[in-house]
Structures are given as C-alpha cells and as structure tokens.
C-alpha cells in the first residue's frame, strides 16, 4: 500500500470514528477532534468541565468505536493504589496448594477512564504516573506491561474544589492535552434533548482496531515538518518562560513557570496528527496555532499577579502565539530583510 493510500485510509478512519462518536455526542466537534488527535498521537488527555457535559459519555463512546478494552475508575478519597493497579492474592489450586496470584487492576485496559481524578489522594493519583509514562506497572517487585495502546482519559470538575486534591504539576505534565469541555449552544442542547428523551437506540459501530491505531501512530511520526514551522513551535514554548530573553511582556508579568519540553513534543506531535487527518503531508503553522492552547494551558503556571488578576491561560497563550507569529513573519517587511 502506498503512503498516499495509507494517509487516505487514516483520513477515512479518523472521519468514521468521529462520526461514530457524534452519533452519541452532540456538538463538541473540537473536543472530539482533540481527543482523537491525542489518542492517535499516543498521549493521555485530561478533560475539564462542569458536571453533565458528557465527558464520561464521550470517552465511553470512543471506546465503543474502537476494538479496544475499556475500564473506568471512579476516583474517590478512599481509593487505594492497589485498587487501580491490582494486587497479589492467595489462591488455592485443585491440589490444595496455595500460592500468590496477581489480580489485575482496572489499569490493565487499552482505554482507562479516570473519572474525577482530582478526588483521589495524591498517593493514588501517582499510581497512574508510572503506567502513563512508562507503559508498565510494578507490583511486588515485578514489572507488568500494560496493553498497547494504553490511553488514559481523566476528567475533573473545575468548580467543586472542596475535598479534592489538585493534580501536581509533574502529573499534569504527563497529560498531552488538557481539554476544556464547554457548555453546549442552544441548538446543540435541543438536539441533546431530542436524542436522549426518545425511545431510540443508537448503536456505535467499531471502526478501528488496536493494531490499526498503533500502525497509524508510526505513520504520524513520518509527517515532515519544515524548520521554520518547528522553530515556531519552539518559540511559542519558549515564550511561555518569563526568564527567556525574548519573552513577551505578558509572560514576564503573569507567568511563574513556562511549559516543559514535553509541551513542545505534544504540540508538534499533535500538529502532525492534525495535518494527517486533514489529508495533508506536512505540518503547518496553522496546526500549531490550533493546538497551542490544549497542549500548553496546563503547563503554564501563573504567578501570584496572574492568579490575582484572574488571567485566563487560554487568552495568555493566544497572545503569546500572536506575538511569536508577528515576530516570525514580520508581516510586510519580510522581503526587505
């Protein structure tokens, strides 16, 4: 199969998967696209939104559209790491001999939904760290690989902060994107009412398999990126650092820590998926601009002034991107250089 054919297959598969999710989820096109981009890029996602916007439903529907195992963990304050990873239990065999046997936890699934992740204690949250970063977990001195692909989708509620344990920066950095699920528009709300209050079963078809997803991940990494586009991504990430010599004023004023190199990786990898799902063979600056906010908004830590002024990180990143673009292209003066 030629590369063009593979790309066309990917575009078709991406579109089919999106269509299957859209059978259940009304609106939220951008969120669905970003979830799929994150999944194909091999990253983990954090969805933030008030209750009732369909975060959990979106992830469950995505799992149904893929031939992949799915498990869900409702995070609570009394949840223990062993409840996620699994534990060794004593088992008696037919001959009456007792031995330890590892009981797999819900983390051993292709798609893991960590619902309300900020309600569990940091100890339990960190149980996910090794699996998310390394792809295996260690129990009783033995490392156990997780199924491939392994995809964590976590949700959190931004308004009920009492009794929660906000994710530490180190753990937030392990999420490729942080997506903000917005409230639906009125026509979308009407469609939700129509779809969910009538007797009509909508079946989601399985359109892609696990090996298919892994194959596409390899294809995605082959997408070329021009040096000036790569430089743009680096400049955007560096511009989130207040100590950078070319940092814009808004960064110097409101940001305490900027995005890590993982942010740049997430930005470029996500841009590659976005380019490919549009049938394009190269990364463009527009891809980077579209994914700058989801890739960087949880990696930019505001300082006290930023918190006090209630600075929105999305607006901040938008300003940074605009400033970098202006600096990079220099508009009409380009050809005079």
């Amino acid at each position: 199969m030629t590369q063009e054919a593979r790309v066309q297959e990917f575009v078709a598969g991406f579109g089919a998967l999106r269509s299957e999710v859209e059978k259940i989820i009304v609106g939220q096109r951008e969120i669905i696209d970003h979830v799929l981009i994150g999944m194909f890029a091999g990253g983990h996602l954090l969805l933030e939104g008030v209750p009732g916007l369909g975060k959990t439903l979106l992830i469950k529907t995505l799992a149904e559209g893929l031939e992949l195992s799915f498990s869900r963990i409702q995070f609570t304050p009394d949840l223990m790491p062993a409840d996620i990873i699994g534990t060794n239990i004593i088992v008696e065999d037919a001959s009456g001999r007792k031995h330890f046997e590892f009981q797999h936890g819900p983390i051993f699934a292709h798609i893991l939904l960590a619902d309300e992740i900020n309600r569990a204690t940091p100890k339990t949250q960190s149980a996910l760290l090794e699996g998310m970063q390394e792809g295996y977990v260690t129990v009783g001195g033995a490392s156990r690989p997780l199924p491939v692909p392994f995809f964590v989708l976590a949700t959190q509620n931004p308004i009920e902060m009492e009794g929660t344990y906000p994710l530490p920066e180190a753990q937030l950095d392990r999420f490729m994107f942080k997506l903000r699920v917005r409230y639906p528009a009125i026509d979308e709300l009407n469609a939700i009412i129509d779809r969910t209050t009538q007797i009509r079963q909508v079946a989601v078809q399985r359109v892609m398999s696990g090996p298919g997803v892994i194959g596409y991940r390899e294809l995605i990494r082959e997408v070329p990126i021009a040096s000036h586009v790569r430089d743009f991504a680096s400049a955007v990430v560096m511009a989130t650092h207040p100590e950078w010599e070319h940092a814009p004023d808004i960064t110097r004023r409101f940001v305490r820590y900027g995005a890590s190199p993982r942010g740049a990786q997430a930005l470029v990898l996500g841009a590659k998926v976005r380019a490919l799902c549009q049938g394009r063979f190269n990364v463009s600056v527009e891809d980077l601009k579209a994914l700058a906010a989801p890739a960087l908004r949880h990696r930019v830590i505001l300082n006290f002034e930023g918190e006090a002024e209630a600075v929105d990180t999305d607006t901040l990143i938008g300003d940074i991107v605009a400033g970098v673009e202006q600096h990079a292209t220099q508009g009409k003066e380009l050809f005079l250089r």
């Binding site: 030629t2 590369q3 063009e4 790309v7 294809l219 082959e222 997408v223 070329p224 990126i225 021009a226 040096s227 000036h228 586009v229 394009r280 063979f281 190269n282 990364v283 463009s284 600056v285 527009e286 006290f304 002034e305 918190e307 006090a308 002024e309 209630a310 292209t329 009409k332 003066e333 380009l334 050809f335 005079l336 250089r337």
Partner: protein
C-alpha cells in the same frame, strides 16, 4: 535548503516568480529612498547656488536625484532573496499551508521519509494549478511621506535668486574709532600690549591664572577691545570704583540680623501660598454662596481628603474630617459641611498660632508646651489617660491622630446605637467599645465612628492599589458592610 538532485520544475518556477517579484518590490522601495536622499542632497547644492552657479546647481541637483533613484533601484535588485523565504511567502499568499517550503526543504534531506514523496507530489500539483499574480505587497519607505518637502524646497530654490552665504564674522562690537584707539593704546608704555601673547582664541575664556588683573582706571586709561569698562565708559558707572568696605559692612549687618531668632520669619513655611492656605481658598471657592445641598459632594469629598492628608502631618482636625467623610457617605451634606467648618476653624487656629511667632523654629515655646497650654488646667501635669509612656499605641499618647478624642455627637447620632460600648467620663470624654473574642479583655478606646470612615476608605484604597486577590475583595467589603449593619 539542502542540495537536491530531483528536479522540481513547478516549485522552482513558483519560487523564481516570487523572487522576481520580491526583487522588483525591493527595487521600488530602495529607489524611493534613494530619490528622497538625492533630493535632500540636491537642496543642499541649490543652497550653494551662489558658489556653484545657477545652471550647474540645477544640473547637479537633478543628477543627485537620478543617482539616488538608480542607485536605490540597483541595490534593491541586486540583493539576494532566500528561496525558502520566498517559498514561505508563496505558501502564505496562496494558502498552501507551508507545503512548498516543507517540500523544498525536505527534498534534499537524507532522512526524508516516504511521506515526503507524497508531499512533494502534492506540492507540485498544487503549484502547477496556481494562477500567477502579484503576491508581494508594496512597502513604501518612511521617507516617502517627507519626499514633498525636499522636492518643494528644490523647486523654490531653483526659481528664487541665489541665497547669500553667511558672513564669516558674526559680531563686531568695537567701532572703528575704538579700534584705532586700541591700536594707539597698544603702543603706549602703561599696558604694553605688545608683550602679551598675541594669538589667543577669542572664544576661549581665559583661565583664572591667565587673566590680567589690572587696576581699572576711572577713565584715564584707554579701554581695550572687549573690556567691559568700554561699554560703561559713557555712563555714571564708568567713573565708579568697587567699594568692598561697604559690601563687607552690609554683610556684617545681615549676620547680626540672623542671630535675632525671634525677628526672623519661618523660612520653612511660605505664608503667602502654603497648603493650608490653598485649602482655605478651595473651601471658600467651594461654598461660594451656595447652600449645602447645592455643593458638589465629589468636590467636598476631595477637599476633605486633602484636609485629612494635611491632618496627618500634624493637625488635630482629623476627627472632624472623618466625621465629615462619614456624613458624606450617608448623604448628610449639612453635617459634612459642619464638620468641614470645624476642621477649618482648627486649621485656621493652628495657622494663626504659627503666625504669632511662637511657633517659629527656635522660638521660645515648643510644640509640646503649646499642647499642654491647650490642655488647660492640667498643664504641666501628666495626663493619666494619654501619658507619654503609652507610646504610639492606637488612641494613646500625644499622637496627632484623631483616635484620642471622642466625638460629642455619640449620643445624638442614631448610628451610634448599634455600637456596643460605654462612655467613659474624664477630662476627655471617651467611648469604650466592647470587643468580643480574643481581644475582649482589652477594651478599645477608639472613637468608633470617628475612625470607621477612615478605615473604610483605607480599605477601598488598599483594594484598588495593593495586590489583594480578587477573590477576597467581596469578603472584605462584606465585612465592612456587616459593621455598618451593627
């Protein structure tokens, strides 16, 4: 861009077209700049028409303009255009989403992936479909908007007669007769000018040791060129000698005057136009025959704020100002005006006290004595409530702040009913507020209504100026609101 063997005719053609456009735009840009500077040079030449000659000046000016035009244009055409920069320009202009630039960059790379072939094929197809058009915008140099100025100046200078050149000598103070006189004097025995170093820079001021201190003749000696006596020689000053003795005598008299401290005015304060006086003027202008209800509350508030600021420097009217501010907050303008009047009276009294001479620096009565004098019967004795030992605690000591005095309106004001506390008779009426919680054992002696307005204002200022997190703003305001409700 790496070297590549693969021919990409469509992409190369596209880039060549863009490079050509860029070159011509650059040529336009730099030619215009050249014309401007050529015109400036032409104007300078035309100014020198009297030297060069009218015909040649016009020819030279025209030549400068043409040279600027041609030089700028050639410079713009000759400058190199990076092909990748041109490709990026084309990508943006034709909406190719960085396809051409990426394809050109990756075509020559050793680590090219199979997808690069697809990219190149895609880019070539899209480039071949493009309709050639001008994509490079025209960028006018900054000098263009000033171009009419030298052009107009050149036109005027061409049509006008030659401008005379300025003379080499600007000033010639001595007249011809004086010069002759000076020459005669130089020949004389008295001054012996011929022995002096002749070539001195006329603009350079001679150093102290170089100056010639010579007795100034009352008119007998001939003045030299540049000598100031020559200027005054026809006036009465010309006959006067400097009288240093009278100068020293006058200085002694002034020094004696300085020793008489009581007779000296307080040079630290300007009685003609000080802040207090300004406040009086403002208050007079504010009232201006108007009824209290006709006066602008905003202006009244500003005036009270100014008085409060003055009070912080050492006045005893802060409680009245606070009362006025509070009355203003409740919309009681009559009471605010009364409070302002009281404060003004106190301010006036203080000013008059200063003018009497006792308050002068080095005077016979110190501030402390004056405070005691106002205290009346207990002058000289220790005040049991406000003793010095109590230092700067709120409401204690001799602090000029209003915290030590209780307002007489405490029982008359309906808002005082809600304050928990009891009045304390004494030399100065006080009002003890009962606190609850941990501070309950240390009853406050603050005049609650006298300070709450100031505290509320300080709170508002702090919310505006200082870094109080926004989430706390409402909480702080709620707290002060709850104080009002009590």
């Amino acid at each position: 861009m790496a070297d590549r063997d693969e021919p990409l005719p469509e992409l190369d053609a596209l880039v060549r077209r863009i490079v050509s456009q860029v070159r011509w735009r650059r040529a336009e840009h730099f030619a215009l700049r050249g014309v401007f500077w050529g015109a400036v040079a032409g104007v300078i030449v035309l100014l020198l028409k009297v030297v060069v000659g009218a015909y040649w000046a016009s020819v030279l000016a025209g030549a400068f303009v043409v040279a600027g035009l041609l030089g700028g244009g050639c410079w713009g055409l000759a400058r190199r255009v990076a092909p990748l920069a041109a490709a990026r320009l084309g990508d943006r202009a034709f909406g190719l989403e960085d396809r051409v630039a990426t394809a050109l960059e990756w075509a020559g790379r050793a680590d090219r992936t199979p997808l690069v072939d697809s990219l190149i094929a895609d880019a070539r197809t899209r480039a071949s479909r493009l309709t050639p058009r001008q994509i490079v915008p025209r960028v006018l140099p900054r000098e263009v908007k000033w171009l009419p100025a030298p052009a107009l100046a050149a036109l005027v200078l061409v049509l006008s007669p030659p401008v005379p050149l300025p003379a080499g000598r600007l000033f010639d103070l001595p007249t011809g007769a004086e010069e002759a006189e000076s020459t005669d004097r130089s020949a004389g025995d008295l001054l012996q000018e011929d022995k002096r170093p002749a070539a001195k820079d006329p603009l350079r001021r001679p150093a102290l040791e170089e100056r010639d201190y010579m007795p100034r003749t009352a008119g007998g000696g001939a003045p030299t060129a540049g000598d100031l006596s020559a200027i005054f020689k026809d006036t009465s000053l010309g006959n006067q000698r400097p009288d240093f003795n009278s100068f020293l005598k006058k200085g002694d008299e002034r020094l004696k005057l300085l020793e008489q401290v009581d007779r000296l005015p307080d040079l630290q304060s300007d009685f003609t136009n000080n802040q207090y006086k300004m406040v009086f003027r403002k208050s007079k202008a504010l009232r201006g025959g108007l009824r209290p209800d006709q006066i602008s509350p905003q202006k009244l508030r500003e005036l009270l704020e100014e008085m409060e600021r003055l009070g912080r420097k050492g006045g005893n009217w802060s409680s009245d100002v606070g009362e006025g501010m509070e009355a203003l907050e409740y919309g009681d303008q009559d009471r605010a005006m009364d409070a302002m009047e009281k404060a003004l009276n106190k301010l006036r009294a203080m000013e008059e006290g200063k003018r009497s001479g006792r308050g002068l620096r080095g005077g016979r009565e110190t501030d402390r004595d004056r405070e005691r004098g106002r205290g009346g019967s207990s002058a000289g004795g220790e005040d049991p409530d406000f003793g010095e030992s109590e230092g700067l605690l709120p409401g204690k000591g001799k602090s000029p702040s209003p915290k030590g005095e209780a307002s007489k309106r405490l029982r008359a004001n309906p808002y005082d009913v809600g304050v928990e506390g009891e009045s304390r008779p004494g030399r100065k009426d006080g009002y003890d507020t009962n606190l609850t919680g941990r501070a309950g054992h240390t009853p406050s002696r603050l005049t609650y209504l006298g300070v709450i307005g100031q505290y509320r204002k300080a709170m508002e200022d702090a919310l505006v100026r200082e870094q109080v997190p926004r989430d706390y703003h409402e909480q702080i305001r709620d707290y002060f609101q709850s104080l009002d409700e009590r």
